[in-house]
């Protein structure tokens, strides 16, 4: 084992790294449904690359939100667990923090078999998905306007 990172160190490290590498003002980032800086820190500044990943995430979120809705309708805890886990990872990676959190909550509840307790979480989830999708659409639309023809 060369370099295992365990908490709380990595969170602090990550914070330090983020502050080091993302000098851009982060005020209000928490209230944005999707903070592009998170993705930028991973893949770099190339706008085409960013647009490509955001587009991919658009596809992922659509499919997984559908899976989650179906699992919710069918009270299928296992399917809910799997889909919420996937979307959690992807959402966090792309900077959709609030969506990541609500997915984590759904994953925990379904993992614990508390399907009936999911209703209120599911409502928040749907709202968050819509917010993220709208935000994504606006980012991608403005990107395409700015890109050279």
């Amino acid at each position: 084992m060369d370099d295992y990172m365990s908490k709380p160190a990595p969170l602090a490290d990550l914070q330090a790294l983020l502050e080091k590498w993302l000098p851009v003002a982060q005020t209000g980032a928490a209230s944005v449904p999707l903070d592009v800086q998170v993705l930028r820190a991973q893949v770099g500044d190339d706008p085409l690359m960013l647009a490509e990943f955001l587009g991919d995430f658009q596809v992922s979120i659509q499919g997984l939100a559908q899976d989650i809705a179906q699992a919710f309708a069918a009270s299928d805890a296992r399917a809910m667990d799997v889909a919420a886990h996937k979307l959690k990872s992807a959402a966090r990676a792309v900077g959709a923090r609030a969506l990541g959190e609500v997915c984590a909550e759904m994953e925990n509840r379904s993992g614990a078999g508390q399907m009936q307790a999911l209703s209120s979480v599911f409502a928040r989830f749907q709202a968050e998905v819509q917010a993220v999708q709208a935000h994504l659409a606006s980012i991608l639309a403005s990107d395409s306007r700015e890109s050279p023809p």
């Binding site: 365990s6 990595p10 490290d13 790294l17 991973q42 992807a90 990676a93």
Partner: protein, 410 residues
Amino acid sequence: MSGALDIHVVVLDDEPFMLKLLARLLVNQGFTNITTCDNGQAALDLVDSAENVPALILCDLNMPGMDGVEFVRKLVEHRYAGSLILVSGEDERILQSARKLIQAHHIEVLGSLHKPVSPHMLSDLMAGWKGPRRSLNPAPRKRYDAERLRHAIHHGELINHYQPKVSVATGQLTGVEALVRWQHPSDGMVYPDQFIGMAETHGLMDALTHAVLAQAFTDAAAWSRQGLQLTMAVNVSMDNLTVLEFPEFVSAQAQVAGVAPQRIVLEVTESRLMADLRAPLEILTRLRLRRFRLSIDDFGTGHSSLAQLRDAPFEQLKIDQSFVHGAHADETIRAIFFASLGLAKELGMEVVAEGVEDQADWEFLRQSGCDLAQGYYIARPMPAAELWKWHAAWQQRSDAGLPFLHKDAP
């Protein structure tokens, strides 16, 4: 790392977006030969392929179907010789136990990454990668037969190495633990894990323990004459404490060598659960009556447990290395460390922390109230003749406030 950018790296994740993102991170770091797999079977097929076998796999832990843990077991079956990095959104304890499991399978784990993966953490891990290993199966370990071992014991081929223990508060050398080695005339140094098991199954433990004790006492007496007053610790296993004359034997040996029983610590382990504890408990109690010191070794693992602490007259407790190394950074390990320490203190016992491997471990101990420390950060086991030289160097380090040696001190 620059020479290794063309190694074949496989990324395994069930979620297409994460898969692509991880691949992009690797491309950004300069890797040129990356394959993505969205299920474990696809990755195993690559491991089985004739060419372009992966040297490194980044593996997601939580996947439907074949999950990361099952995948790793299959990797072993498929004789995978490369390294692994775990990637997961799971919590720290799940990652830790997965890591332990994988290491138990003898697959090299470079580390684990939390999602979302930071490029800097990834590049740090990759920087620690030593390159492809040559083969999964190292030269098979040589097996020795009981007759050969018996010959070795009676012809002085077993020698003791000694690992220092120091005071946590002052850094002062207080004692050593004797660790047996087999100086094989043609195979070189053979370590105990290659012969102790056989000694146990072939009734050679008594002869072996006697050889170790005699040598340890002789060396302790020599150091004492040269002005170095040390406690000498020798390992004895509960399941070897069946010969009722053992206390008389130890007393006689100590007397012949001229070492006071107070300077002798018998470190006791119990490798298997014993049905009948009467003989070992009698032997331990009688050793204690003769003023030998008893230490419970590897506390918290195997059968080195609370029941032993209740039943036998131990006065020293050695916290197993797995609850010491890294305790500063891990809540679970730290909690177990402090619970063991507190328990021992409550019982008025002296406490030794095993497995002090780096500066961070040492500094953690300095704050903890633990009495003694032992581990690679302080010293590896060494032949008796090297103790003086190490001691001089250690005193210099100690006087200088224990500066950082170098990263991999051992």
